[in-house]
Subunit: 415 residues, 2 copies
């Protein structure tokens, strides 16, 4: 299929897209094809006004009273409830709070405490690094010799699940190659050995439907700033299965996790609900942006979202596939949609510079060391025509070796 | 002195006030005398526009690129540097991050690790509860039997400092009664016994000058939303003395504390600078509000700030002192300015309802269980005339028993 035909097909797909109206609910700059919503989601149009109202009316005018009158105090629960629907979680099992790293610290500490007699934590070498770093930090602080064992490939994981494993801690969709684990099957395999399971949903929540309840997951965490569009550094979330609530405490035992924070008792009495997983005072401005961003999910059909995500990925893989081998690009994302998330990644010899050249041409994806170029497919605001056009521009950059330009070799603090 | 004379004196004091121009840099509602800046600081006028710019231009238009182009990635260090000046800290010793509770978890974990052979943590029963809760959480997780010993009165602390104490952990200014510890003397007494000291500056930073370097403090933490005016749930801060940087790691070892976060290594290699005390992705919207709020401190003479704070407290104590005994109000804040922060508190039998009646009359302070009414004195935006008028209204409420009205008995979620 040549690009002209692809573009015609893409336009037809856009006309038939049941989600196409969502594009207008986002601010997106002219001249940009944004394929990085898996790193920072685009801005929902109503967020700016909502935050301005919170700053001007609630903080500026009502001042301290807004903790009650604007119900700031329950923002973590309110936002959590909106996220819960997208990830198949019951009411009262999700709160928005802190960062993904800190939330992992909480639930991993709790899981290791629950499964106290065991010594291993299983994860993957290619898990997102902060998850591994946090596991190191938790294990060191507990000081009981917990060992982090890392699978080199997903297929190795089931064989590593033995009776000395306390926790299996996986990111559902891999941040580099977009590989997606079978959540239900791995959770069951782990439970069969008495292992607790923590799922990191950073690249899942808002990208596709998830069923934590159906999979019988123990804990989950995830971030607010990717497919959920909560803004840079948005509050993260965490899920705790009801069977693990109440019986013990996570160690970041700040006052918002207390049974009665405003009694100002000198001893900690943990809330017996999901609120025990809160810690300090919630960041209201960031929470309000997140709350507003979550509002548009009320209208999203998650099955349609997933169908479009698969189709966008398939279109890009097909278009790039026509020239990838000519320029040393290797698809590292599974072809089988059942095994992938909502991104398409290639290994690429001049990956960093190639991505810089793409960005200069208005196609924004990102680079992940050592050699991966990533393209995130966000069904709420991407069109098929854009995805087809991105492939055309990528081909042109590779064919003209535009990536050789010196300005594309210079690395920023953040890649 | 009757109220008329007090009002004339107050107006004269306002005319002579070198900080009076700062009032215009805050949004404050008409008809309100705001004596709760020690709970939530007022809104600096430029914050709304700055956050709107970050949302619209940086997030909306520049998208992911703003991590570099707007230098979002270094916000924790930039904001930290602005706070450092107010608390007598050197460059490279302060970052803005997370919440006060989480920052205490980090530095207390580090301090207990540094002073590994010792078993006690000393604090006060009347410390702000979340500090005590976090100490419980840290001790439980480390699991080496650390014991939290709480002084019943400040005078008891020196006698509790023995060779088995690992950490002395105090809030510089007490949240209820406004009592202020002698930071230099207690730090020295602790160091003489080999004890590390953590100072909580929640009710100090932005209320008066502090000299952490001069006091030779080991660690400090504090919040951004009180006297620093960073907004509800603003990022907190932490200080680590240079002698404690680099040698060990705090356990919340997220990717922003890694030596090279964007190398995406699977093993944690801690930054050897203050950055090791960062954890997850910084909350950009909240950080930007905080950064903007900190800008006005460039122009503040901290000695003048303290002088006005003392004078505001003295005026209120004098005015309320004229009728306090008639209505069962007891001053619980030290009369000696050397022993207090920037608030005035009374125990009061109908404290909760009295405060509600005050708020209904436009005088906003707050209540702290079981019976304390608090009045925070924020020198940047309060006038002497307002403070004198607040005393007049308090007297009227007490004299007319306005606090008996049923609507003032109903408690909100947040008191």
């Amino acid at each position: 299929m040549d690009s002209t035909i692809a573009n015609i097909d893409a336009r037809q797909a856009d006309q038939a897209d049941p989600l196409r109206a969502f594009r207008d609910r986002f601010e997106l700059p002219d001249g940009v094809i944004y394929l990085d919503g898996n790193s920072l989601g685009a801005l929902p149009k109503t967020v700016k006004q909502r935050v301005a109202k919170t700053i001007g009316d609630e903080w500026g005018e009502q001042l301290i009273r807004s903790w009650n009158t604007a119900d700031w105090v329950h923002l973590p629960q309110r936002v959590g409830k909106k996220i819960a629907r997208l990830i198949g979680a019951e009411d009262g099992t999700v709160v928005a709070a802190d960062s993904t790293s800190i939330n992992l610290f909480k639930v991993l500490s709790a899981a290791l405490d629950l499964n106290g007699g065991r010594s291993k934590i299983i994860s993957e070498r290619d898990n997102f690094p902060t998850d591994l770093y946090i596991a190191e930090g938790v294990a060191k602080q507990i000081g009981k010799g917990h060992r982090l064992a890392l699978a080199s490939a997903p297929a190795d994981i089931p064989g590593m699940l033995d009776n000395d494993v306390a926790v299996l801690m996986l990111t559902h969709v891999n941040y580099r190659n977009g590989y997606r684990h079978d959540m239900a099957a791995l959770t069951k395999a782990a439970h069969d050995k008495g292992i607790l399971v923590i799922w990191d949903l950073c690249h899942t929540a808002g990208a596709m439907p998830v069923d934590l309840t159906g999979a019988n997951a123990d804990f989950a965490i995830g971030c607010g700033y990717k497919y959920l569009n909560g803004g840079p550094g948005a509050p993260a979330f965490l899920y705790v299965n009801p069977r693990h609530q109440g019986g013990f405490r996570q160690p970041l035992s700040g006052w918002f996790g207390h049974r009665a924070p405003f009694d100002f008792d000198s001893s900690y009495a943990p809330s017996r609900s999901i609120e025990q997983y809160l810690c300090g005072t919630p960041p209201v401005l960031a929470m309000v942006a997140m709350d507003e961003a979550m509002a548009l999910w009320d209208d999203v059909d998650m099955a349609a979202l997933r169908a479009k995500s698969v189709a966008l990925c398939d279109l890009f893989i097909q278009e790039v596939g026509a020239f990838a081998a000519d320029f040393g690009l290797t698809l590292v994302t599974p072809l089988d949609a059942e095994c992938r998330g909502s991104q398409v990644s290639y290994s690429c010899d001049n990956g960093y510079a190639t991505m810089q050249a793409l960005i200069a041409r208005g196609v924004i994806g990102d680079f992940r060391a050592p050699d991966i170029i990533r393209f995130g497919m966000t069904p709420l605001y991407l069109s098929f025509a854009e995805v087809a056009q991105a492939a055309v521009i990528l081909k042109d950059i590779l064919a003209t070796r535009a990536f050789d330009a010196p300005e594309y070799q210079v690395r920023g603090a953040v890649t």
